[in-house]
Symmetry: C2
Subunit: 358 residues, 2 copies
DNA sequence: CTGAAAGCGCTTACAG
DNA sequence: CTGAAAGCGCTTACAG
């Protein structure tokens, strides 16, 4: 036969068996001994024996209801958290989040129910913010809804974003990667090789992380005593990256390029090849660390000069930041942390070719 | 300035704002309308407006304590759910679990806090079964603790295992892959090519899924009118898979082999090569679908005859089964579902070579 | 050193 | 159609 749903033992059952009050059972089980609470060792032992005999387990729901917190950390993503495409996007973050949550004794609540009709996740669904289920939450996602973030912030719900985010109406807490320094480092690498005019191939959408990269581009120019030429900034779909275009760039004295988009890299390689050039002899190329790629950059041609994003560490630090906020809610404003990226020099950057442009 | 952590709104706040009783709020929010409960549409709307204005969401702890459900589905893995090694093991299951949970309006509760000192997850930690936080749970993992499973079953907690599992003291619900049929299909493939003596290279640990594969091996023999020779069953670490060993097998009339372990495949290929043989001319080989590998079997040599496991679908069905159990707890014993694998004929099985053994 | 009592935020008979 | 009240299983001041 099937197993009937036995009534599980409650604290009161333990108390009865041990001949003490429920209070005492709770005290023993929570190790509240010390201070003004003192339990006689034999009483304590009687309680523990009763617990063992009954196989008693405290109901976490009741416990958290009585105690205030439920030790649940929310994880909200604005896209499916386990995507089939781009399976590697969230994964490293989750590795870090899981590890740190486990270490700190929290469970993770993944908000998967809040999917809108468009496939995008919504924080506020039918006027219902499921985030409140957890003590606080870590939010991730490229296509976040700023309006919802503002509201969440205004409501005072404790959360940490993975990635720098700015919203109207307040400052939120985040753990970011230092794209600015990393990009500046890549550019400095070009300059050290003798390049002076390095094109910047930009993502069509200007997010915070893209803005940070562009700031790094300008920073490196200033540090090298160069004036960044606005004419070096390009936007262009992969399909329009051709040998002809590269020759045009060369005619403008451009000897290398950095790109924000991983998809551009293969197209650029192909165009360089089609131009009859070789890399890095005739043209130099670097990639500004796309979060959509693996840590090991499987999708990238080997050895492309780039930088890696400390995704796992960002997950760890986001959880740590969040728990700090939870344990000290009044502790002064947003918490922000910016972690360094790792520069990966490859073989795609070399000295510029001799050129009429210089 | 920073945002003070506002007290989160309670049902009573909503009731006050809407000018109704807490009962009415609860009724509206749980859609308990119908039967003898009838709420005037305008009252209902007032409640919903108040909910929206306050950003109210029911406390899951209180809700589950009061006997309701909290629409949280637990996901418990006996190993880290986002492992760094074998990152692909749980992933496809999670894709399915996430999708179906989202579709049904459940959130996912990942139990990451229950990590024992040995790195293994425990269901019962310090006398505390956190699973009770969720309405029910999907359990996964190769190295599950049978004793804990028995206890969970005896307690009547609703759960579904992904993978066939048998424990002493009862029958649990699961969603399994049909390894038996799949293995029989692979063997039939060998027999159809003319093989009569096919060795079976077994995993050192006899789990349910391994037992199913071996049952399929015997089944195929019976169906082909052959007597399975116990002498064809081997256990052997990768390091001891040598050309010498293969020659010994051949001397026993063995013309092909199936293996349970993915790690064996490269070793076998190497040994076949070292024996001066070519595949499948001199020896045939197939792999019995290791759950630790990708769906696309990146780790496997291309074109190895094998079968794939419907992991994503298993996740979907596990969630579906679980919610069925939740909505009808008394519904007669364990629910079990076995999904078919997909046979993938490769180029590693061909006719047996002419041999003195036959 | 230990217990009686209030209360955490909900749901659900039970009245009306 | 809606509300007053009990109760889910705990923890935590507060007494003694």
């Amino acid at each position: 036969m099937s197993h009937p749903v036995k009534r599980r033992p409650r604290q009161a059952d333990v108390a009865r068996l041990a001949g003490v009050s429920p209070t005492t059972v709770s005290l023993v089980l929570n190790n509240r001994v010390g201070g003004n609470v003192r339990i006689r060792p034999e009483t304590r032992q009687r309680v523990l024996d009763a617990v063992a005999r009954l196989g008693y387990v405290a109901d976490p729901a009741a416990r958290s209801l009585a105690g205030g917190q439920n030790r649940l950390l929310g994880v909200f993503t604005f896209e499916a958290i386990f995507p089939i495409q781009q399976r590697d996007f969230y994964y490293p973050f989750l590795v870090g989040i899981e590890r740190e949550a486990g270490r700190l004794g929290y469970d993770l609540l993944l908000f998967t129910s809040s999917t809108g009709t468009d496939g995008k996740r919504r924080l506020y669904q039918r006027g219902n913010n499921r985030l409140r289920m957890a003590d606080g939450a870590v939010l991730l996602g490229n296509e976040e809804n700023k309006q919802e973030l503002s509201r969440l912030l205004a409501e005072g719900y404790p959360f940490v974003f993975v990635g720098r985010r700015e919203v109207p109406g307040g400052e939120l807490s985040y753990v970011a990667a230092d794209y600015t320094t990393a990009t500046a480092q890549v550019l400095a690498h070009f300059f050290a090789h003798g390049h002076r005019r390095v094109a910047y191939l930009a993502h069509p959408i200007e997010t915070e992380s893209m803005a940070d990269r562009r700031a790094g581009y300008r920073l490196a120019h200033r540090q090298a005593g160069l004036e960044p030429d606005p004419g070096l900034l390009f936007q262009r779909p992969s399909t329009e990256i051709t040998a002809t275009w590269l020759h045009e760039l060369r005619a403008q004295g451009i000897t290398g390029m950095v790109t924000e988009m991983g998809e551009h890299v293969p197209a650029l390689m192909a165009a360089i090849h089609a131009a009859g050039w070789s890399l890095p002899r005739d043209f130099s190329l670097a990639f500004l660390g796309d979060p959509h790629l693996n840590d090991d950059h499987d999708d990238l041609p080997r050895d492309c000069t780039t930088f890696t994003i400390p995704r796992e560490e960002m997950g760890v630090q986001a959880v740590r930041l969040l728990t700090q906020i939870l344990s000290n809610p009044e502790g002064g404003g947003p918490r922000r942390l910016t972690l360094p990226c790792r520069f990966v020099p490859g073989s795609t950057v070399g000295p510029p070719p001799p050129s009429p442009g210089r």
